[in-house]
Symmetry: C2
Subunit: 446 residues, 2 copies
């Protein structure tokens, strides 16, 4: 399936320091690159981009992107870029003979939304409009600016900016058939060259269906204000349902701030993973030294490592650099980081009290911690299935473990720290077995 | 989809101590229960069983099975059970108006074969015969006894026991439409009441396709000899592509022998897991004691635990008691068993040499071992994809680890044992990261 992106307009409301709007950066990626890479993540590799205002700069960027991402980007020129956007869409007519996605260069959607729309069956002469029915989050100015739609039983009955009676917002994302072009030409003959007018021509023929995005987030980046909102929204999407309590209320808020800064730098997720790993190794070395000061340094480094450990995944997702290998590699490094931190504490303890108790505390803490991570994958699958988007209250994992190390080392209570970790982690493992056993028993009942 | 099972015949060639043939036990499950549970594992819950000879006993068993397995089993009586099997099939005609599976009570197939056949699209008046083209494994007597088929371009052109020119064996497994019944009646009118003759009637009309089972194993249990062959074949299927070298050449051959005995006992897979776990715990306790004798006892128990650890999965598969939870729970117990064995060795060492070296050896051995299991899942996915059924040459996992413990403890070389485990396991982890990194890089190239 091809994807048509309208990027011809001036977008003058965004103060963009001379950059054309499609090239304005949102968390380290330009608007149009975000649109294209989101679509690419859904399996689309053929793009048509209609350029106009400052088209040369945009086309130069896209040529480079095409090369880098191994996709096809065809340029369509619209010299009447100062006119309505229906004209831009019409310019792409010669290239489109099958159903295609149509979107704007300045509207951002989640992969889930795009994939669901793309996979919706579409009839011969139809158009599907992606509609936001839950638009309470928009300000009254935004609603005034937006194209409104009135839908009934899944059909779009009317669409325009001036609509008085409406129950949804046109998000600027469409699944189209080439029937759209006839409609646009008919609208143009009637003197209205907007895209909405073309859609309306089809709507009066009963050929426009509404695709309900079901409350999924989307962002229309029009000015500095909406740009900030989009950035905050994209960052919020990085929180995970399976974040434990320390991650949720302490690590994640900090790591998201750091990530916001890190994405603007030329730093790969793997490099961030490595920084986090090295911080943990040095923390372990500090712990192995004598004295309270060494413990304090170790504590700070360990907690720093735990926070930074969130950034690699966040940056990867924001930069479309998520890989299965990367996620797995990061997890394996975390296990060695854990082992190093706990071994450092064990050595610290043995220096002052070389008894069997010290050895055993370190050994049981390590066993509990590594098996805690071993059981995490399946437990998280269970949590995700059970909680369906609601935040998870109870999950004792790495975030809790490292916070206990942090506090215990600050307070110079190494033996207690190891004993507490050994107890909490092993008990949590038993609890997980118990919970998953119960879930299995219940699933047999059905 | 319904499954029709023919179980009316006498099967007198199997010396069955008074039991009707469908109830003859094959590795702890009766023939007909195996046939039904294999189909159930493929999602079939509606069965029709044609009984005849000693039908009362068979029906009593099936009533109990229906209750226990929450499936539906309808009895169809064939009082002419001493005649040909086409008559048995005809008795089920009133119950079958859609495509259905047809099989014999004494033929055993793998789930994969059954699932693939079931999911094959079938035309309105067709019959699909599951054909074995690679029948070199059959003895000349077996071939003489078998129903032979001659196929060309996926069509069955001829079928009968007496066929001179043939290129495949009819395995007794069919995907049928009710068109079969007209054909059986036509064949009966012509004086032949065998199932093959009915199939041949359809074949002459070009309506019988061959389903190539592609070398997958199947077993026709007719006499004591073929019963032994089937048992050996079913046990052989329990070997895993991802078995490491020690497992492949030492543990698995022993555990399969034990499993052959254990399936006849009333012992659940979870109970076997628990025995293996307890053996490891006691091994750890022995190791923690002083002296070479304690080490020898520990060594024997640890290796016994490692062998028995194979039996739970084998018994679960043979008894259709595989569950995702059971497999996971067994794996988590194994991790604690590992930790206990290594901790026992570490304590043994510290008793004689309480230096940091002893602590570190134990700690690194534990870290390497637990992370070795942590990386195993993804590494095994990679191996399975890469090797496609060929045995895997190189995989250092639990089987190797416990054998090193066994040998090291027998030889009273505890420090060397822990150092070797620490080295081998951590190096193997690094190697796995390296191998998976390479695979990821290559996959990006495509």
């Amino acid at each position: 399936m091809k994807c048509l992106i309208l990027a011809a307009g001036k977008g003058s409301r965004l103060s963009n320091k001379g950059l054309p709007k499609p090239l304005v950066s949102v968390l380290g990626k330009s608007l149009i690159e975000r649109v294209i890479l989101t679509a690419k993540a859904c399996g689309i590799t053929d793009f048509l981009v209609v350029t106009g205002y400052q088209g040369k700069a945009v086309r130069g960027f896209l040529d480079e992107l095409q090369e880098r991402e191994d996709i096809s980007i065809i340029h369509v020129l619209n010299e009447q870029w100062d006119k309505e956007n229906g004209l831009s869409a019409l310019k792409a007519r010669p290239y489109l003979h099958e159903p295609f996605l149509l979107t704007m260069c300045d509207h951002l959607f989640t992969e889930d939304t795009l994939r669901a729309l793309k996979d919706t069956p579409i009839g011969g002469d139809e158009v599907l409009v992606c509609v936001d029915h839950e638009f309470e989050h928009l300000s009254s100015e935004e609603v005034a600016e937006a194209t409104k739609v009135f839908t009934q039983k899944g059909k779009v009955l009317d669409i325009s900016k001036q609509l008085q009676q409406y129950n949804g917002i046109d998000t600027g994302l469409f699944l189209c058939t080439p029937a759209l072009f006839d409609a646009l030409e008919k609208a143009a003959e009637e003197g209205d060259t907007t895209l909405s007018r073309g859609i309306k021509v089809l709507a009066t023929q009963g050929r426009v269906r509404a695709f309900d995005m079901g409350g999924a987030p989307w962002f229309d980046v029009d000015d500095e204000n909406s740009l900030q909102k989009a950035q905050q929204g994209l960052l919020r999407l990085l929180k995970k349902d399976t974040d434990g309590p320390v991650s949720r209320y302490l690590n994640r808020p900090i790591s998201l701030r750091l990530t916001r800064y890190l994405v603007t730098k030329d730093l790969s997720p793997n490099q961030i993973s490595f920084i986090s790993f090295m911080a943990a190794i040095v923390a372990g070395l500090c712990f192995a030294l004598k004295g309270h000061v060494a413990l304090i340094f170790g504590a700070l480094l360990a907690q720093f490592s735990s926070v930074i450990d969130g950034c690699d995944g966040e940056v990867a997702r924001l930069k479309f650099q998520m890989t299965e290998f990367g996620g797995w590699f990061d997890a394996v490094l975390d296990r060695y980081a854990d082992a190093c931190i706990l071994f450092g504490l064990t050595l610290h303890l043995i220096r002052t009290d070389p008894g069997l108790g010290s050895v055993a505390a370190g050994y049981f803490a390590l066993t509990g911690s590594l098996i805690n991570s071993y059981t995490a994958r399946r437990y998280d699958v269970y949590l995700r299935k059970k909680q369906e988007g609601r935040p998870v209250a109870f999950r004792l994992g790495r975030d809790v473990r490292i916070l206990i190390v942090f506090l215990g080392a600050l307070l110079d209570k190494v033996f207690a720290t190891l004993v507490i970790i050994a107890l909490i982690m092993n008990l949590e493992n038993i609890r997980r077995i118990w919970v998953l056993y119960g879930a299995w028993q219940r699933s047999k009942g059905h």
